[in-house]
């Protein structure tokens, strides 16, 4: 076998591997970035912490990535969660309210996470308990959740929901030894989730329920319980994102916090190769998907294009990534090229 054959076999194998296309998209966007701004990868140390575009992308991608990981679990059960933005709004309102009330901040952290899980339990109850279709079931909390957040703000007058908290802001915007704390936090949560999904039978159960709930039930899996748990896990990760976002802005803003985060999270899962038809969870690739989205957003910002173009460029790049991912589209493109070259 010649070296050339070896290489083409390797390329062929890489092409079939599902991880290659999102990574390729990420690399392509980064290459464009370097062309636009040659010192894109420059990292400096400013005031005792790392500073640069790459760090900025990782830093800003954390909330979306956390929500996307939860979304990946829910999508694995063939579900969807539209209420993540509302969950974040409610968590933020609870944090601001309890800090005004003077609770210890560690208690508030657990309270916020608990309230988040309560939101997930509500969604899980509607989907698994009442059997309502997920997109409609989670629409209920999506519609009313930001209102609940506003209502919580009104409990203490709602005039000044801003706050200071060394603990929460330390987790969100602080850094230890050059590296932002939220990256440690996100990595820790990712490892915990990965262990729970891949080192216990939970992942297998979720994928079985998403693949075929009736068959999973017959095989002895409590499909309702698994579905319920998936929504709670998603809401817990979303609540962590809510803590980070709320501490970042030092205030609770239920109307506009995390607007459209559900769409970005779903997009991240799909760019990472997840199927909305359920039955598959790709945790690592979901993080790559979130990084693709954040890199794209940052790139549009540093490119200096007018902000009106943001959405259009985002849509076109997303379509390009999906085009690369689609085996059917690549095949027809390949045929077209072959026909031209003949």
């Amino acid at each position: 076998m010649t070296a050339r054959n070896n290489i083409s076999a390797l390329v062929g194998r890489l092409g079939r591997h599902r991880a290659i296309w999102p990574l390729l998209a990420l690399v392509l966007i980064l290459i464009v970035d370097v062309i636009i701004s040659p010192n894109f990868f420059e990292i400096r140390i400013v005031e005792g912490r790392l500073f640069g575009n790459v760090i900025d992308i990782l830093y800003r991608a954390v909330p979306t990535a956390l929500v996307a990981l939860g979304m990946a679990v829910v999508i694995g059960t063939k579900g969807i969660d539209l209420s993540v933005g509302s969950t974040i709004a409610i968590c933020g309102a609870v944090i601001a309210w309890r800090i005004q009330a003077g609770d210890p901040h560690l208690v508030i952290l657990f309270l916020a996470l608990g309230v988040g899980m309560l939101c997930g339990a509500w969604n899980g109850f509607l989907v698994a308990g009442l059997g309502i279709q997920p997109i409609i079931a989670t629409l209920i909390l999506m519609v009313s959740g930001r209102g609940i957040g506003l209502l919580i703000n009104q409990i203490y007058g709602g005039t000044d929901p801003s706050f200071e908290s060394a603990l929460l802001q330390g987790m969100s915007t602080g850094s230890s030894g050059y590296i932002p704390n939220r990256l440690f936090l996100a990595a820790g949560l990712f490892i915990l989730l990965w262990l729970a999904i891949r080192r216990t039978a939970l992942g297998l159960f979720i994928e079985a329920v998403g693949g075929n709930a009736a068959a999973a039930n017959l095989a002895g899996i409590n499909a309702r319980l698994i579905t319920f748990l998936a929504y709670v896990v998603c809401a817990l990760l979303t609540a962590w994102a809510g803590v980070i976002l709320t501490a970042d802005t030092h205030t609770s803003d239920p109307v506009s916090v995390a607007m459209y985060i559900e769409l970005d999270a779903i997009l991240a899962v799909v760019i990472g190769g997840g199927s909305l038809a359920g039955g598959r969870i790709h945790l690592g690739m979901t993080v790559v998907g979130a990084l693709v989205i954040q890199t794209l957003t940052t790139s549009i910002l540093i490119s200096g294009l007018p902000p009106e173009y943001n959405l259009i460029i985002k849509a076109l790049v997303v379509l390009l990534v999906l085009f690369l991912q689609s085996g059917k589209a690549r095949a027809s493109l390949g045929r077209l090229i072959v026909r031209r070259s003949k």
Binding site: L82, L126, L130, G131, I132, Q133, I135, I136, A137, L139, I140, L141, M142, V143, S144, G145, R146, G147, I148, L150, L151, Q154, L263, I266, L267, V270, S275, L276, A277, P307, E308, Y309, N310, L311, I312, I313, K314, A315, L316, V318, L319, L322, F323, Q325, S326, G327, K328, A329, S332
Partner: protein, 320 residues
Amino acid sequence: MNRKYLPLIATILVFLALFVIGGSMYRNFLSTLVLGNILADNSFIIIAAIGATFVILSGGIDLSIGSMIGFVGVCMAVLDSMGWHPLATAAVMICFGVLFGALQGYVIDAWDIQPFIVTLAGLFLLRGACFMVTLDSVPIRHDFVNAYASTSLPLPGRGVLRSSALVMLAALALAIFIAHFTRFGTNVYAVGGDQESARLMGVNIRRTKVGIYALAGFYSALAGVVYALYTSSGYPLAGSTLELSAIAAVVLGGTLLTGGVGMVAGTLFGGMILGLISTLIIFNGSLNSAWIMISSGILLFAFIVLHRFLVSSFDLRGSS
């Protein structure tokens, strides 16, 4: 009785029950005036939802509806300020809607990408296009808008059917004809029931899917035209998250998101239930913005549960 009518009957019962409850709570609620207003105020949601019904019947979903309404609105307003007649702009925009929908349908089938994601890209694309056309709210000042607004058909009592409602009812009649009396309509149900079986029976999947999304594009562009004429302005953020209202109207109307099951007529009542929810909140009058959001959620929840309860209790009676 045919079981396929159960969800539709349940939807109509829920609608009537709510209407009567509203009537017992507020004076002047039970009138053709309120009914006519609900039809006119929600005509654009119902028109868009009719298009979404075909998409959902085929097992897909269309998220680009709200952005399409916004885009059609700003184009109508900007072209109006350039001296175009609103009807001419409407014709152009509806053609654009059909083409855009057909393109989405083609991408979904030819690239084999999930409809949720393709139409999500459509949502971003059209909303971005809105911002490129204009960043301001632009009024539509043509005389035709006044003529359109003052046209109406009297109903018994004090109520009237305004032109928006008339357009909506005509669009509904067309949709019922397409869904139940044409081969294309049968193909939509076949594709939604089981795409592989439909293919094996000789249904042209590519043509059907392109047709479905083109039809959805037609209806959402028409909804955009009705919305622009109704508000007599174009605003680049108009119609945000309206796609979710449309999907909710379709589902409340008894159509399953899994495809293959449901009726276009149900969507009318689904949309009117959403309209009743906001009318009830307006009649109450004392709610602040927080409670408006929360009570919409609670009422949505109540309807979904009531609807499920009605359908399952009918089911039990039918099988025993």
